[in-house]
């Protein structure tokens, strides 16, 4: 019942939240308050906040399971559900933070046909990989937990999965903290940032789980104690940060460190409302802390910029989270209420000490290891292959120490492959027919997307995109394409603009024949004639597939000249070799600098 109420509250918050989300998607980053110096604002702080909450759930469930600390089913299930829902919420904010939303896929570290590669030195790329992998594995973990209710063979997988996830949780949050720690912003620098972030994440996540458990009618003292320990840790961090840099946000300190200390008053601690209030104070404190972190300069000014859109986004996060958790809880109530004891779980009566339960049903470490051995080896192998492949890409020639920049995604990759290898067979066996079909279709679609990614989009300007003033390409005053000479011949233009790919004599430039896909078209006489002058001129001006548009750079007349030159070259196909021998020789100098054209 309580979850139904929560669902309605969540949906109620979602309505204004959606309006704010829609508005800010339309308006772009100008909609919310952003820091004048760092350009970052509300979505980033919300992202860090929700990703923190997303960590505590799996942390509680996986780490406790791995360490043989027993939790009852309701608690661990709820914790895992919290993780999944918080991850969904967290994933929305970095996306909406982007200025050009539709370019988000360029962050994926995968090559396309033009050898564009995401910049693997950037913490954002690490972030993206780590969180995507964390989401996939957390979902797997949750599914296994759900399934182990019905299928025996899944039970043995839970513990190995927990061991995979345990380091991943810490790893992922370290990476998130690197977003800030590697920068030049003075307030963000510091080697202690990863620890600070992890502590904050666990702290806020625990508070959230405790608040939700209260709704469940549960109370786990162990969790409360851990939360209190973390409140002290945060207290120390804040004091240290103050001593180091002089940053101090009073409100975060009061809500995050001071108010939770009321837990020591027994009348508040024993009261459900009191416990919820303490948990919320901790959550609020951590949110404030994240907020001031993302917008470090002129804290006071940023706070005054905090408008209704920012509030709306806040509500959106909260509303979506509550609705997802409550909805999941209601839909899965069968699984929550199951009274059988699972491995790593013991039924604990209300208000009982969970840690004191005996470790009777835990499988010993050796079986865990033997189950994990093969998937782990596979994961390591695949990761090594990926690294070798990635560093062999020409992109990596452009900076030093490429291998070091790959380290942050090493463990997540291993965990991903190992986790999938671990669960794939068992899940496949038990999955119903329909699910298998969906799965196959899903894999097909991912393959299709990867293919589309590799092929890359057309470089032509979308028709009608330019709505404002447009350069008039046929204006004779602009026609010399920046070439200062009035007597620029088509041949000269061809050598300057086109020869790098199409070759001086109209046959391919060897270099690009090898590296480009699709290949530049062969300029045979027959083909040119069948296409016709007009369409070729249009291709030159507007671009096509991998051919770049030259509309702003050369005039229509020049394009016509180029097409005629092309035709002339093609007509001489048979004798071109003999005629241009001298020419190609002396142009070796030029070819060596051809790479500069692609700036």
């Amino acid at each position: 019942m309580i979850f139904r109420i929560l669902l309605y509250i969540g949906l109620g918050l979602l309505l204004p939240g959606c309006a704010a989300l829609g508005y800010s998607l339309w308006e772009g980053p100008a909609a919310w308050s952003t820091d004048v110096r760092t350009f970052w604002g509300t979505p980033v702080s919300l992202f860090v906040f929700w990703i923190g909450i997303a960590h505590a759930g799996t942390l509680i469930s996986a780490i406790f399971l791995a360490l043989d600390i027993h939790l009852d089913r309701r608690t661990s299930m709820l914790a895992e559900l919290t993780t999944l829902c918080a991850l969904v919420v967290a994933a929305i904010f970095p996306l909406m933070h982007l200025g050009v939303l539709e370019n988000f896929y360029m962050v994926i570290p995968f090559l396309d046909a033009r050898e564009n590669f995401a910049n693997l030195r950037s913490p954002l790329v690490w972030d993206f990989c780590c969180i995507a992998i964390y989401g996939i594995l957390s979902a797997l973990f949750f599914v296994i937990h759900l399934g182990s209710h019905k299928f025996e063979q899944l039970k043995t997988l839970r513990k190995p999965m927990a061991w995979l996830l345990f380091p991943l949780v810490l790893w992922v949050h370290t990476i998130v903290s690197l977003d800030f720690a590697v920068t030049f912003v003075p307030e963000w620098r510091g080697a202690f940032f990863p620890l600070y972030f992890i502590a904050g994440a666990i702290y806020s996540g625990l508070a959230m789980v405790i608040a939700l458990l209260a709704a469940e009618g549960r109370r786990i003292r162990l969790l409360e104690k851990i939360m209190m320990a973390f409140s002290w840790l945060m207290f120390l961090f804040w004091v240290w940060n103050f001593a180091l840099k002089g940053d101090w946000s009073v409100s975060a300190f009061i809500f995050g460190a001071l108010l939770p200390q009321l837990w020591w008053v027994s009348s508040i601690r024993e009261n459900t409302i009191g416990r919820i209030a303490i948990a919320f104070s901790a959550i609020l404190g951590m949110w404030l802390e994240r907020f001031f972190l993302a917008a470090p300069s002129e804290v006071a000014e940023t706070a005054s910029n905090f408008g209704w859109i920012d509030f709306g986004l806040l509500l959106f996060g909260l509303g979506l989270f509550l609705s997802l958790v409550a909805f999941g809880r209601i839909r899965l109530r069968k699984h929550f209420d199951g009274d059988d004891i699972l491995i790593g779980e013991v039924e604990v009566a209300l208000e009982s000490e969970s840690a004191s339960a005996p470790a009777n049903a835990a499988p010993d470490k050796t079986t865990t290891l033997s189950i994990l051995r093969f998937p782990l080896l596979l994961g390591i192998l695949v990761t090594i292959l990926y690294i070798v492949w990635a560093t062999s890409q020409s992109f990596f020639d452009t900076f030093d120490l490429p291998v070091v920049s790959l380290i942050p995604i090493v463990y997540p990759l291993i965990a991903l492959v190992a986790g999938i290898a671990l669960c794939a067979r068992n899940l496949w066996e038990i999955a119903p027919r329909k699910l298998k079909l969906f799965f196959v279709i899903g894999v097909g679609m991912i393959g299709f997307a990867a293919g589309a990614y590799f092929a890359g989009g057309s470089s032509a300007e979308p028709v009608g995109e330019i709505s404002g003033p447009k350069p008039n390409t046929s204006d004779p005053a602009l026609s010399t394409s920046g070439l200062a000479l009035s007597n620029t011949t088509p041949e000269a233009l061809w050598n300057a603009r086109c020869a790098a790919c199409h070759g001086v004599d109209g046959s391919f430039n060897e270099k690009f024949v090898r590296e480009f896909y699709p290949l530049p078209q062969k300029l045979s006489a027959g083909r040119l004639d069948s296409l016709g002058e007009d369409s070729l001129v249009n291709v030159i001006l507007n671009g096509r597939i991998n051919m770049n548009p030259y509309g702003g750079r050369i005039s229509r007349e020049e394009a016509v000249g180029l097409v005629r030159h092309m035709r002339a070259l093609a007509g001489e196909d048979s004798i071109a070799g003999a005629n241009s021998l001298v020419g190609t020789d002396s142009l070796v100098v030029e070819k060596s600098s051809a790479g500069e054209d692609s700036l």
Binding site: G22, E27, G99, V100, P469
Partner: protein
């Protein structure tokens, strides 16, 4: 009303609100571009809202870039003579016109978020310093911010996803973010047809007038290349009639392009000739000749990052 219905209602309302949020604002398409006077006014306004300056520290003369890939013949850059500069702001306007830098709306202007690629900070013109070890490029997730072999920190607008990480990581805040769609707001004017107008949501900054460099390079390749062929054919060595064409330097006997005689828009606009553009690796360029006898400075935040743009003050 039963629960199912209620949920359905909530869903539709949520979708409706999202759409409602999307609807408002931004629908006014003004096609008439702004006048030159608007740009002049904005430059004046930006100068009135002057930002604080940076502490300057001494730096050595820029040489070959340490980061790869580095060209051994060209590294372009500028030196700004602080003894000559009187902070008139003409360079800002010239840069705006050369690079089609748009105007901003009132709300952004109030916060000092102008798009100008040059800003006067404490009276000193400040643009991107084209650090060879550029921190902005390191954190760009897509690789839209990258380095050319000849020393420019370049931006590929089409590859930019607008994460603004580069902007956060530039120690001198040289990067500008397109918060609004300048085109549909009627804030943009394409003074220069060779430079594209930028879309909403991408980062931009001083490009060291890359279009001028590229044109000159193309010009060289088109004409000097042909001249070389002609020369080879007729048995003449080198090129003789290239006076009207781009200036050409030679290195180890081969003809190569050194960007001689080129000027950036800001350098051309400065009445005091305080901004000198040139090739740091070309001993005969005005830039190197002048910088050799002056003390060179850079803002403290980037002094260690090997900037290509430096300040000059006092004689050695």
């Amino acid at each position: 009303m039963d629960r199912r219905e209620f949920l359905k209602l909530c869903m539709t309302m949520a979708a409706g609100f999202t759409l409602f949020g999307c609807r408002s604002g931004g629908l006014t398409d003004k096609l008439s571009g702004p006048a030159l006077k608007d740009f002049e006014d904005e430059v004046r306004r930006a100068m009135a809202q002057m930002k604080p300056g940076f502490r300057l520290v001494k730096v050595p003369m820029p040489g070959e870039m340490k980061s790869s890939p580095a060209d051994r013949e060209n590294r372009f850059g500028m030196a700004i003579d602080l003894d000559a500069c009187d902070g008139c702001g003409k360079c800002i306007l010239a840069c705006n016109q050369e690079n089609n830098v748009p105007l901003v709306s009132e709300s952004l202007a109030k916060q000092g978020r102008f798009m100008h690629w040059i800003e006067l900070r404490d009276g000193i013109p400040t643009m991107c310093f084209h650090c060879s070890d550029a921190p902005c490029e390191k954190v760009c997730p897509t690789g839209a911010a990258n380095h050319t072999p000849d020393g420019l920190s370049a931006m590929m607008y089409k590859r930019c996803a607008g994460s603004r990480f580069c902007g956060a990581n530039c120690p001198v805040q040289a990067r500008k973010f397109n918060y609004e769609d300048a085109r549909s707001l009627g804030h943009a004017k394409q003074f220069n047809p060779q430079v594209p107008l930028r879309d909403k949501g991408v980062m931009e900054k001083c490009s060291l007038c890359i279009q001028r460099l590229q044109n000159d390079r193309m010009n060289f390749k088109a004409n000097a290349g042909l001249a070389a062929i002609a020369g080879a054919k007729s048995g003449l060595a080198g090129i003789t009639g290239a006076k009207s064409g781009p200036a050409v330097g030679t290195m180890s006997g081969k003809i190569s392009w050194r960007g001689k005689g080129l000027q950036t828009a800001c350098a051309m606009a400065c009445p005091k000739h305080a901004i000198i553009f040139g090739n740091w690796l070309d001993e005969s360029s005005d830039l190197v000749k002048e910088a050799k006898v002056r003390n060179l400075y850079a803002p403290e935040g980037i002094a260690k990052l090997d900037p290509s743009v430096v300040y000059m003050r006092g004689r050695r």
